[in-house]
């Protein structure tokens, strides 16, 4: 039992996750009506992305400005399945070609394109939600990390990929639904996802999946591999000369991050009921990085909370004060980067250790670190000697 607890980062982390579970699965459903709960479910899907970013950016030192790509790919895979299910020949009999999604009919396409065919199968869709983004992440990661491209270059190229994919989806309206995305999704395996009951169930499913992701994420960063990641982030060459294949480690952690993002995307589609290229582009992708940075790039639980809080703040602020939100967001970004590189989680753990000095040794190694968060300066101190 002791070893089991330790594998997930010690009792503090497990208690934090348990608190989150209680808030998400008991407190929120009991106190909010279903419309708000559905919104909360939407914010939670960003938490998946944030967890992935902690692994790949906070621990791996790889800043990806293209997480929206994977979020979107996961979401689109799910949306394609739901759209095909909604486009039965009976439901679409007023179209020129019944049985294909409505936007294809509007764009004079008379046959289902080949890459849509497999999405008739639910099993394939579930597989594709994870496999398609993972494959792309592997391709990008393998091509770049094997050639030792990293840092700023990687960030720029992933951002460019996000832009390219957005332009492609918007441009190929007949195949992808264009700027509106894939809308008007109704049922999942014959079960209407727009009813309140379905929304509750999907919310709970999303919570469970997120809690699992939190556990998996904490398991990874507390494993030997997690320690290697930190070492790689701070002293890449030393790890390489010790005989580890740094490129493979980076590819793995990048693929993990993309899979988390994709699962979030799939839940996004299920709960919100549509998917559009806005969630893929450069702005959406960089906002996901804000979520992670605000919550704390070194704390899985912190980043998940950050995603939830920031996107909640975004919705409420941009509704009531549309002029102020961008300024708040920008200031948040500068402030977090310059003054609190460890985000909310860092603040909390600093306060915690002040109030309870004895507990400091129990908290995760990650929160006790000096602020050498992104690997860069050759002078970064080796962290893992303790």
């Amino acid at each position: 039992m002791q070893r089991f607890i330790k594998a997930f980062g010690g009792p503090t982390v497990l208690i934090q996750i348990a608190i989150i579970a209680a808030i998400l699965m008991v407190l929120l459903p009991a106190t909010t009506e279903i419309f708000r709960l559905n919104l909360f479910g939407k914010y939670l899907t960003y938490a998946f992305v944030a967890v992935g970013l902690v692994l790949c950016w906070g621990y791996g030192g790889i800043l990806s400005l293209g997480q929206g790509v994977f979020f979107g790919l996961g979401g689109y895979c799910m949306a394609m399945f739901l759209k095909l299910e909604a486009s039965t020949p009976e439901a679409t009999k007023i179209q020129t070609t019944p049985g294909i999604p409505d936007f294809m009919d509007w764009n004079q396409i008379t046959e289902l394109p080949w890459f849509w065919e497999p999405f008739h199968s639910f099993a394939f869709t579930v597989f594709a939600v994870v496999a398609v983004p993972a494959f792309f992440a592997w391709l990008i990661g393998y091509a770049m990390f094997k050639r030792r491209v990293g840092g700023v270059y990687f960030a720029i190229i992933t951002q460019a990929i996000a832009v390219i994919l957005t332009i492609l989806i918007v441009g190929q309206q007949g195949y992808t639904g264009g700027i509106n995305g894939i809308t008007d999704l109704r049922t999942l395996l014959g079960w209407d996802i727009r009813t309140d009951g379905a929304k509750y169930l999907l919310y709970y499913a999303c919570c469970v999946a997120l809690l699992l992701c939190l556990l998996v994420g904490n398991f990874i960063i507390n494993s030997r591999f997690g320690r290697l990641l930190i070492a790689m982030r701070d002293q890449e060459d030393r790890v390489r000369f010790s005989g580890y294949d740094v490129a493979n480690m980076k590819v793995f952690v990048f693929v993990m991050a993309s899979v988390f993002a994709a699962i979030g995307g799939a839940f996004f589609t299920l709960q919100v009921g549509f998917m559009s290229p806005t969630f893929i582009g450069a702005v959406a992708s960089i906002e996901m990085v804000v979520f992670c940075a605000v919550g704390g790039r070194l704390s899985i639980v912190g980043a998940a909370c950050g995603a939830f809080i920031v996107s909640w703040a975004k919705t409420s602020l941009s509704d009531s004060f549309p002029q102020i939100w961008p300024v708040v967001m920008g200031a948040l970004f500068i402030g977090v980067v310059m003054f609190f590189p460890r985000g909310l989680a860092g603040l909390v753990s600093d306060y915690g250790s002040k109030l309870m000095p004895g507990r400091k040794s129990q908290s995760k190694p990650s929160t006790d670190k000096p602020d050498t968060a992104s690997r860069s300066s050759a002078g970064a101190t080796p962290q893992e000697q303790a």
């Binding site: 800043l63 091509a143 491209v149 460019a160 918007v170 920008g330 970004f333 310059m338």
Partner: protein, 307 residues
């Protein structure tokens, strides 16, 4: 392409090529500033597009003032506007370096995020001050109209003008970097920072001036930009991703590479967009660049730089 005669095809290529040249000018003007900042300090300035927008708005203000003073002022306001745009953006860049970038030098990924936040704030400031609608400057008479080379080829004068500005600015930057004492300091800092420090160069000062200069160039780019398009709060950010690719594709710290890659990317986008849709041309071009960068991460013209 069977339905075009050879003559028509030539005309298409010349005209598309020329509209590609205008795009090339915007890319290059933006990329020059970005390239010297990135090349020297390894800092990616995500707010660079907003510096261009600021330059464009300053030009708009100058032209607005000139229109009130009458026709003579309107004819000759442009040089004043360029200088004003340069000074405004240079000053802002100087302040940004002094109060923000300076503290983040050994964290390049964090500079990227912080400058993005700055860009967001600037965009909102523009929106509050100038309104969300796009602003168009009143153009002097000598920039209107076009030059007819042949029956089928029509070259707009403002396109020629921005080309001239780009060429002058590029040459001036070359001269500054390769023919002046300050340029020697910059190149020394770029190539080996600690050695340059040891040789008595105040690299902090060089950094600050380089950053401000890069922003100033973006301001001039904004002034030039007003002659070919109108300015909105998000104008600069539309080009920022392409410009990053231009800089990285050209090879960091290589001005020549920046020029060549700006030309290549702009031309292929412009010429392809005649035969395909605009979006597919852009996708194809950017994708090619990304794939080339994956195969050759150091870019077209790699320079030896000690990191």
């Amino acid at each position: 392409m069977g339905d075009f005669t050879a003559q028509e095809l030539t005309a298409i290529f010349v005209m598309q090529g020329f509209s590609g040249l205008s795009l090339f000018c915007v890319f290059l003007l933006m990329a020059l500033g970005l390239a010297i900042i990135f090349g020297q300090m390894g800092v990616i300035n995500m707010a660079h597009g907003e510096f261009l927008t600021l330059g464009a708005y300053i030009t708009y203000l100058v032209s607005y003032q000139a229109a009130e003073w009458g026709a003579t002022a309107l004819t000759w306001y442009f040089p004043v506007a360029i200088v004003a745009a340069f000074i405004g953006t240079f000053a802002l860049g100087y302040l940004v370096e002094r109060f923000m970038i300076r503290y983040l030098y050994n964290r390049p990924l964090d500079t990227l995020l912080a400058t993005w936040g700055l860009g967001l704030i600037l965009q909102q400031v523009f929106r509050s001050v100038f309104g969300p609608r796009e602003k168009t400057v009143t153009m002097p008479d000598w920039l209107l109209g076009s030059y007819r080379a042949t029956d089928m080829i029509d070259i707009p004068l403002n396109g020629l003008f921005i080309l001239v500005i780009t060429l002058v600015l590029t040459l001036a930057l070359f001269a500054l970097l390769y023919r002046s004492r300050w340029g020697i300091k910059v190149r020394a800092t770029t190539q080996n920072r600690s050695m340059a420090n040891a040789a008595g160069i105040n690299t902090d000062r060089v950094d600050r001036l380089t950053f401000a200069l890069g922003c100033g160039i973006a301001g001039v780019a904004g002034a030039a930009f007003t002659t070919i398009a109108s300015t909105g709060p998000t104008t600069g950010s539309l080009y920022i991703v392409d410009t990053f690719l231009v800089v990285v594709f050209g090879g960091a710290a290589s001005l020549l590479g920046t020029v060549v890659s700006a030309f290549g990317i702009a031309q292929s986008q412009s010429i392809l967009s005649f035969f395909w849709s605009g979006s597919m041309a852009k996708v194809f071009t950017l994708l090619t660049v990304v794939v080339i960068l994956m195969l050759r991460p150091q870019g077209l013209f790699a320079s030896k730089v000690r990191r």
